[in-house]
Amino acid sequence: MSAAVQADPADVAGSAHPLAQRRPLGDRVFGWLALAAGLLVLVILVLIAVTTSQQSTSWFSHEGLSGIFSTDWDPATDHFGAMAFVFGTAVTALVAIILAVPVSVALALLLTEVVPPRWARPIVYVVDLLAVVPSVVWGLWGILVFAPWVQHIYSSIASGLTGIPVLSFLFGGTNTSGAAFFTAGLILAFMITPIVTSLSREVIATVPSIDKEGAYALGATRWEMIRGAVWPHSQSGVVGSVLLGLGRAMGETIAAALVIGSSPAITSHLFSPGYSMPAVIANQFGESSGTFRAALVGMGVLLFAITIIVNLVARGFVERSARRAKGA
């Protein structure tokens, strides 16, 4: 992470060295400007935490901390329990991760191990195209095209699975419009695939080729090499990129807001409509005021805290993997 130690004229200045001279003002000012720009990051993060928490105090004083766990959400009667939204956020993010991780890791392996470098670039472009599609366009396509199409599939699956214990628990339930936890999770999976793929690729690329070639030299097939040489090295890094994808899926607002069904519900049926924290904030903020608004901002604070924690843990994993690879 740090640049190599360089001869810094600043160190020489002020010493008794015959060639030393004071650093000119312009140079020092530039240094301060750079420092200020860097500190801006920390300042913004702290400000976000402080100001949004301030705005949400009336929600916390109204509901107490149990507001986060209460399932009673009824703005008309001043009840603002956030559990249904936390549940929805968790469920859609989990669905997204379960669907996206196998595909992304497989893609990363494809790009680093299978495909000759000449072909890797175009494939990377195609994967990055997924990232270029803005979230709101995913949502527009999702609600106007995908949801009606997928609604028929849901009905067939649900009716086909009636009676089967575990599967109908997850995939039962009626859905009349296609907007559901699963639809939102699926679209989120599409959206986080590019990120998880590119991060996994970076991690896998740091595996020392000595180990890979050693495996081949022992007669391993490519798959055995991946399992034996690549995977142990890149494990924690890939876990880190998965967590980053999870964080992104939890915070993704607009696509979820349009296709999740806008119906606060805690249910095991993945095919029924639900709601998530960012979705309710986006949909209801304009018409909220007072404690209602504070509740929405409070959920934003919750979202901020959760994603910061997930990101901290994720970056920790990625850094650990990078350090290990360098030392290996």
């Binding site: 008309a76 009606p148 304009g286």
Partner: protein, 370 residues
């Protein structure tokens, strides 16, 4: 190395700056040219507003989504009367419109109901003037393939929205529709997620018509059964109905018609099943009792051909405006809304105001001072 690089950096940077500047110049010149979208219906010949001087400025309003179609058409038509005034209307629901007015972020609010008691404290110390501007039906729109002329009576409607009737082939619905084969599809009720005057008036109708059956009260937000799907503004409810087979919901007539939805005929106090239309809405509003502050309720009116779920919408403004310019602009816009604008209404799916109410409203315009 440096000699080659720097010009390229400056080219790119200069291009970005030039693009931003030219866009700013572009946009400031295009905003002064009149909008190109026409309103569809012919602009009425303006004969009334001869004495008003040319004003300029911006008026911001927000609120009722029921009024939205009229507001948007009126904004376009008003441009030919006062081209210097830009009016913006944001359809966010009556409740949010009222709170925006209380917060002072808009010049006028659109509301389908008078300020309820629990919001009165936000307006303490200020006089709010009510200007009724439109009357219109609330439809029971539905999405049921193969069924085109659904008939419903208030008891059945109340039970559907309370979650007591859950399938389309329920005997109660069949009783209203003899000879029609109703499928066994589950009923999905579509309701409003935002604080809405449409909800207020729909529930008021149910409370007035069948008070023994309807238990959820009358308010701009109702605690619907958890099986109800909620959408924002009338258009959100219409979207749900349109995309969900077996759905039924309450949507204002102009939105329902423009969305291509089918709607039911409702039994009125005289016992007749009447379909919603501007005519049947006017029949319900005729002879309604108007209070001195111009508030009234048009629902469940008497009359053989009256459509029972008819409601009204007001523009709310403060009597005392912060400056003379705002007062003059509001007076000009309200004069249009109550005058030439009324001729746009029937094409849009509303009923014009009864003439006695219109006269009383026009007389109130001069009370706006600034």
């Amino acid at each position: 190395m440096q000699l080659r690089r720097r010009p390229q950096v400056m080219t790119v940077g200069g291009a970005i700056v030039a693009m931003a500047l030219s866009l700013a110049a572009c946009s400031s010149s295009s905003s002064s040219s009149p909008g190109t979208g026409s309103s569809g219906s012919s602009a009425p010949s303006s004969g009334s507003s001869s004495s008003s001087a040319a004003l300029s400025g911006t008026l911001n309003g927000s609120g009722s989504s029921f009024q939205n179609t009229y507001q948007l058409a009126a904004i376009q038509g008003f441009k030919s009367v006062q081209s210097g005034i830009t009016v913006n209307y944001n359809s966010v629901g009556s409740g949010t419109g009222r709170s925006n007015l209380a917060a002072g972020t808009v010049n006028f609010a659109g509301s389908d109901s008078p300020i309820p008691a629990k919001e009165a404290s936000e307006f303490a110390g200020k006089t709010v003037l009510y200007f009724p501007v439109v009357i219109g039906p609330i439809t029971l729109s539905y999405n049921l393939s193969g069924v085109s002329n659904l008939k419903l009576d208030p008891t059945v409607i109340a039970k559907i929205f309370q979650g007591e009737i859950t399938k389309w082939n329920d005997p109660a619905i069949a009783a209203d529709n003899p000879g029609v084969s109703l499928p066994g599809t589950a009923i999905t009720t579509a309701v409003r997620s935002d604080s809405s005057g449409t909800t207020q008036n729909f529930s008021l109708f149910l409370q007035t018509a069948v008070p023994s059956v309807w238990k959820l009260g009358s308010s701009s937000t109702i605690k619907w059964p958890s099986s109800a799907r909620a959408g924002a503004q009338n258009t959100g409810v219409a979207s749900i109905i349109k995309s969900t087979s077996g759905a039924i919901g309450y949507v204002d007539y102009s939105t329902a018609k423009a969305s291509g939805l089918s709607y039911a005929s409702v039994k009125n106090s005289a016992g007749n099943f009447v379909a919603p239309s501007p005519t049947s809405a006017s029949a319900s509003a005729a002879g309604v009792n108007v209070k001195p502050d111009l508030t009234f309720a048009a629902a469940w009116g008497s009359g053989a051909q009256a459509y029972p779920i008819t409601y009204q919408s007001w523009v709310l403004v403060y009597a005392t405006q912060p400056n003379a310019s705002d007062a003059a602009m509001l007076q000009a816009y309200l004069t249009y809304l109550l005058g030439d604008g009324q001729q746009l209404l029937s094409n849009l799916g509303y009923a014009p105001l009864p003439s006695n109410i219109d006269t009383m409203a026009k007389a109130q315009i001069s009370k706006i001072t600034g």
